[in-house]
Symmetry: C2
Subunit: 248 residues, 2 copies
């Protein structure tokens, strides 16, 4: 009757997990091509599976799928980046609102342990710090035990990693370990308003550190740079590049 632990975790899911991780650790940078063949071969699976995995990742906004074209790691626009952080703020405020004063000692301990790990990674490569910081937020979300919240926060957190990879320069994010500690303290004390404010300002700080320059697209893709100039007649005072209307 014991439900055969880890029955068979779905090959596509494994590929997803691996790619997700590679993307948030910036081993795969925005714009990197992801051919189905190559993925399939690398993971000992067929194209069919790789394709399925890419579909999932595309649904999460981590890769871009263009018909008859090689899939690529997504390259969020600056405007999308701002919007993403806005949404993330609201979602994570929801998380801490639900969690404040509700966590038991074990959970608090787990959070503190995780932040200790972040502290320990201060010297190491940036990408590890970013991954750990992201995992802290996901860990928080998981403690709500709300599948939808977990899913959305995870998704948007991963996307924020991608945004950091796209826009922030190499050593701009010193990861705010102390801010995470303050969050835990406020959560433990059950100060709802305070913890919501802390979260808000924490994420705002992260966003500000990352999205310093509105018009600094890391010189990666000429199309991005030219996008604002591609409009027939920019009537409005070149404020924001007017994003694409719909996604799918």
């Amino acid at each position: 009757m014991a439900p055969t632990r880890t029955s068979k975790p779905d090959k596509a899911a494994i590929i997803c997990q691996a790619l997700r991780r590679a993307i948030i650790e910036q081993a795969l940078k925005p714009g990197t091509k992801l051919p189905e063949d190559a993925l399939g071969e690398r993971f000992g699976a067929s194209r069919t599976i790789a394709r399925h995995a890419l579909g999932q990742l595309a649904a999460e906004g981590l890769v871009e799928l263009r018909r008859n074209r090689i899939a690529v790691v997504a390259t969020p626009s600056w405007q999308e980046a701002r919007d993403t952080f806005d949404i993330r703020m609201e979602l994570e405020r929801l998380v801490v609102r639900q969690l404040a004063g509700q966590l038991d000692a074990g959970q608090i301990a787990r959070l503190r342990a995780h932040v200790d790990a972040e502290e320990g990674a201060r010297g190491g490569p940036d990408t590890v710090s970013i991954r750990l910081a992201t995992e802290f937020h996901i860990l928080l979300a998981e403690m709500t035990e709300s599948p939808i919240l977990i899913r959305y926060v995870s998704e948007i957190s991963y996307r924020c990693c991608l945004i950091l990879a796209t826009f922030s320069r190499p050593h701009s994010s010193d990861c705010a370990v102390s801010e995470h500690r303050a969050l835990i303290d406020a959560l433990e004390a059950g100060r709802v308003d305070e913890v919501m404010n802390l979260m808000h300002h924490h994420l705002e700080a992260v966003a500000d550190r990352a999205l310093v320059a509105p018009a600094k697209p890391r010189g990666r893709d000429i199309m991005d740079i030219l996008a604002p100039y591609a409009e027939p007649a920019p009537v409005a005072p070149a404020g924001q590049p007017r994003v694409r209307a719909i996604m799918r």
Copy 2:
């Protein structure tokens, strides 16, 4: 050079669209089985494509995919339903915050026209009213031109349709056309705080109309009813049924 209008909208996408629509119109009720073969045959495609479509829908939370089992239309739990509406409130507050006072006459007109359509559907079947009401919210989201907001609001709105299908009894939702009108007025006038409040209370009202009875799982599935009793030893005072940890 003209980019060949509607080049070829991807068979899988067509199936997705069709299923999505069928689900929100409650032609496909929660729990309905969705065999790959049947879908493929129905849409003149192979299982591979149907499978891909189901994967996308699963990523949106509209269908549940269990390994080696027939996919089914998702049946949200009551707790998930509450959480979903909580998230939706925050997202849509974000929408109207961005939109208040920013809409041009044409957009306002389009909104009013849509609400007129809702009004006209008052006599018709419930499912049409629900679909139109949902499309109103999605229309609002689209006016932000923020791909991420659009995606999230659409997704969560569809899920709310599913929730309505699962929990609300046949004629509980009289769709609040007047509330939609009030929203438009406040948007036009640019009263940010007012429109955010209106949206908040509007969605709260929808949720309350739908989620009246916490323990009324529509007698559909015995497993749902028994879920809270299945725990080995419910130490905590049977508060909430402790939802599954993760989704995929």
